[in-house]
Structures are given as C-alpha cells and as structure tokens.
C-alpha cells in the first residue's frame, strides 16, 4: 500500500506546480547568486566603511539614480541616438559592400585586407581625426559609432557571402541558373546567419563607439556624463550611467536578435538558444 501512495504523491508534481518548479530550478540559482553578490557588496561597503567616492554601495547608486533621473535620461537619449543611427548606417553601408567585396577578387584583396588592418587599430586613435573632420557636433559621434560597427559587419558579411559548398555550387550549375538567381535563391539565404553574427558584433561595439566619441569631443551623452561624474568623484552617478549605457547596448542587441528570429527562423541558433 505504501508504494502506491508514494507514487500518487509524485504524480501530483506534474501539472500546475511543475511549471513553477521548472522555473525555480532553472533561474533560482543564478538569480540568488546575483542577489547574494549585491547583498555582499552592500554589507562590505558598510562594514569596511568604504568612502563613497571610492566605491559606492548598490543602494546608494539607486538613490542617486532616482535623484538625477531626468538628467541621466536626457544623456541616455543622446547616446541612444548616436548608437542606433550610427549602427543603422553601418548596416546600410556594410552589408551591400560585403556582397560586392565577396564577389570581386580585386575588392577582396584591397578593401577586405585594408578593413582587417584598419579594424585592428583602436578606434580611439582615430577619434580626434573624426572630430577635426566632422566637428564637435552629433555628426562626428555618429561617424565613430559607424566606424566601430562597420568592421564586424563588413568582415562577417564577406565570410557569409563567400562560402558556397561545392555540392550547392554544382547543383546551381546543373540547373543552368545565372549568377543573380543563384545569389537570390542560394547565396543570400545561406549567408544570413553569418551576416547576423556580424550585426550582433556591431551592436555590442556600438555603445563603446558612442562613449569614446563623447570622451573626445562631447558635451552630452552617457560617456561624457561618466567623465564629468568621475571628475566630481561622484561614483554613484558614474556607475548609474554605466548601467544605463549597458541597457542601451542590450536594447540594440536584442532588437537585432528579434529581426534575426524573424528572418532566419530555420537556423540552428534559434533551436538551441545558443
């Protein structure tokens, strides 16, 4: 009799509560860990009486964030503008260019090689040049963001469009389709996953570009504000701004992911949540 009762009890776990248990099982450990670290942070600061100009406690950061919200928000909007528009331009220029480069050996040996070389130089080194050329206004910030997003998008795009397996090549040839048909029906869909890898790489870089641009010649934006806050030893504000900056980057990244899900629902990365 006992064994049957135990079985019944276990069966109860399916159904309503199983969903709750599943969520608990998967998310509770990481969430608990993060909460643990925040609490630890708060406790250590208070215990060791760390002055707030060295490292502020999480609660203090939140307080400061709340106090200065309107200002932080206006800076966020400025940076967001630079980030999103610069990224968009990089996509509009980078993707078509990567197609052209993939199909021309001359372009590959010049534009591609040059891009790899230029991309290795820290953007901040070119930033003053951009300011000289485009002024201190919005335009130069956009150029820096463009620069920083352009290389991952271009280089990954080239990879995507260059590769065509032998078998697919033979298949296209056997159908007698011309280059354009082969491109639209085979090369383009096949390239999309790699193109999106480049877009995601660009999205990650975008906020960094905006920050650097604002450091060089800015009077608004989160990067600029971080510098100002740090100069005033207001670490709480600086960290709060960094959090906002992260969120802007995350937003752009997830927008790209959304488009990716719409455009390539068949791809592996949509199946495995990699």
């Amino acid at each position: 009799m006992e064994t049957i009762e135990i079985k019944n009890h276990q069966d109860k776990k399916h159904g309503i509560t199983s969903f709750f248990y599943k969520w608990m099982r998967e998310a509770y450990l990481p969430t608990l860990t993060m909460i643990f670290f925040f609490v630890l942070w708060e406790v250590l600061i208070r215990l060791l009486e760390v002055p707030r100009y060295i490292l502020p406690a999480p609660l203090a950061i939140f307080k400061e964030f709340g106090k200065n919200f309107p200002l932080i928000w206006s800076h966020t909007l400025v940076t967001a503008n630079e980030t999103f528009i610069g990224f968009a331009i990089a996509v509009v220029v980078g993707v078509p260019l990567s197609i052209c480069v993939a199909f021309s050996e001359t372009l590959r040996r010049t534009v591609y090689v040059g891009s790899v070389a230029l991309g290795m130089v820290p953007t901040i080194a070119f930033a003053p040049l951009f300011v000289v050329w485009f002024g201190f206004a919005f335009a130069s910030k956009m150029v820096v963001v463009f620069w920083v997003c352009f290389f991952p998008i271009l280089i990954n795009g080239i990879f995507g469009f260059i590769s065509l397996s032998d078998e697919l090549k033979y298949f296209s040839q056997s159908t007698g389709a011309n280059q354009i048909t082969t491109f639209w029906k085979i090369r383009l869909p096949a390239a999309l996953p790699q193109v999106f890898l480049g877009l995601k790489g660009g999205a990650i870089n975008a906020t960094i570009g905006a920050t650097i641009a604002e450091w060089i010649g800015g009077s608004a934006g989160l990067g600029y504000y971080i510098q100002v806050a740090t100069g005033d030893f207001n670490m709480r504000l600086a960290l709060a701004s960094i959090i906002m900056l992260t969120l802007v980057g995350l937003l752009l990244y997830f927008l790209v992911v959304l488009v990716e899900i719409k455009l390539i629902p068949w791809h592996e990365s949509q199946r495995d949540n990699v």
Binding site: M34, A125, F233
Partner: protein, 265 residues
C-alpha cells in the same frame, strides 16, 4: 586568353602602393593642411624623427597590454577550470559572468583612473578586464564541450581524472581556448590605449592624444602605425603558440579563419 598579371597578393601590393601615391600627390597638389590629413611622406619623416620616444612609449604600452593579457590568462584559465568542472559554480557564477560581459568595460576607464591614478595600474586593470572575459568564457566553452564519445572513451579506460584531463580534456579544449586568446589579443592594445588616453602620462595612446591635441596629425598617424604593429605582434605571438600547441587542428590546415564572430573593439 592572356593570363592576367594582376592576381593574388600582387593586387594588394599594387593597389596599396597606388593608394599611397595618390594620397601623397593629392595632398601636395591641393596643399591640404596637415591637421586635416597628413601626407605619407610626412608620416614617415615624423616616425623617424621621433623614433626614440615612440620606441620608449611602445615599450610602456607593450608592458600594459602584454602584462594585462598574460595576467588574464593566469587568472582566467584556472577559474575556467573551476567553473567548468563544478556544477554548482557553473549554475551560480557563470550566468553572472555572462551578464558582466555585457557591460561596456571601456566606459569604466575614467573610474579606474580616478581610483588608481595615472600610473600603469589602471591601464593594467582595463586591459585585464577586456581580456579576462573572452578568455574565461571561451575556456569554459572549450572545457565543457567534450564530445560524449570521448568522455565515454575516457571513462572506459578507467584512468584517473588528472590523466583524463591532461590527455583528453585539455587538448580537446585548446582550439576553443585559443579563440579566446586571439580575441583578447586584439583587444589588449585597445584597452591600454584607452587607459592612457583617459589618464596617462606615457605610452603610445597618451602620445597620440598629445599629438592630435597639437593638431600634429602626421605624428599621430606615425604613432598609430606603431600601435597597430604592437597589436599585430601580440596577435601573431598567439597564432604562433597556437600552431605549436595545436598543429593538428582543422583551422591550421587551411588558411581560412572561419566560424564565429570577427572583429571586436
């Protein structure tokens, strides 16, 4: 059909040289001031003129980049082992690390300068932060993706965990680990440059800032060339080690650098 002369590497050399020549002539012809765009000849001249100082600063930036890079390896690889082989740590620590990876660490540069002053320390820390995460995450990926068949094989030999690690897990993980190393190598000099820019008194990044502040773009470009060269040296060091340690791997067989995201700042 006549065989084309302009093929392969010659295309790069030909157009590269053509570009430099046009660049030089255009600027001379239209008398474009140096602060808008420097002439290649001017860059070379300034490079030679200021070579001693450039070299000295290269040494400093080099120490910051290479040092931060190697420290992140020294800390990152052991930590990756702990995380990869402990279920508990993987479920708790790993998501937090992935979350931290999303924070644009470069934006923290002003804070580090405020905390640690103008010396080498803040640069080290920035380089370390930029290198640490890719190295750590790729190493964890490498150690945790041992194929099931290899795991079963290792178990069937009855070997102790240490032997399994040295003979199977580590070699299998090396290619992915090197992906992390290459990524970090590209970013190391970036971190050092930004650190010097925000708060430095020495180094190539600092020097570029000074030069461009004075509108001496030819000097700035000369230093940029040196900076790029420094980054390449570190990258190629990693590539050489990769060839030595994993000569058997697919990526070493052809000259295709395929797969995965390319080109991060």
């Amino acid at each position: 059909m006549k065989r084309k002369w302009l093929t392969g590497n010659r295309i790069t050399i030909f157009y590269g040289t053509l570009l430099i020549i046009i660049w030089e002539c255009w600027l001379r012809l239209f008398e474009i001031p140096v602060y808008l765009l420097p002439k290649p000849s001017g860059i070379v001249v300034k490079f030679i003129q200021h070579f001693p100082l450039i070299l000295e600063y290269t040494w400093i930036t080099g120490i910051e980049s290479f040092g931060g890079f190697f420290v992140s390896i020294a800390l990152g690889i052991p930590l990756s082992l702990f995380i990869a082989f402990s279920d508990f740590l993987r479920k708790t620590l790993y998501p937090s690390i992935v979350a931290l990876q999303l924070v644009p660490k470069i934006a923290l540069a002003p804070l580090f300068v405020t905390w640690f002053g103008f010396g080498m320390m803040p640069k080290f820390i920035i380089v370390f932060l930029l290198c640490f995460f890719p190295i750590l995450l790729n190493a964890i990926l490498g150690f945790t993706s041992l194929r099931q068949e290899l795991q079963n094989f290792a178990l069937s030999t009855g070997a102790d965990p240490l032997t399994v690690f040295w003979k199977v897990r580590l070699p299998a993980a090396l290619p992915q680990i090197f992906v992390g190393f290459k990524w970090a190598a590209v970013n190391a000099t970036v971190g050092a440059t930004i650190g010097e820019w925000i708060g430095g008194d020495a180094g190539l990044g600092y020097y570029i800032q000074i030069a461009s502040g004075d509108m001496k773009m030819d000097l700035a470009f000369a230093i940029i060339v040196m900076l790029a060269f420094l980054g390449l040296v570190l990258y190629f060091l990693v590539v050489v080690f990769e060839k030595i340690l994993t000569p058997w791997h697919v990526s070493q067989r052809s000259s295709v650098h395929g797969g995965g995201m390319v080109g991060m700042q």
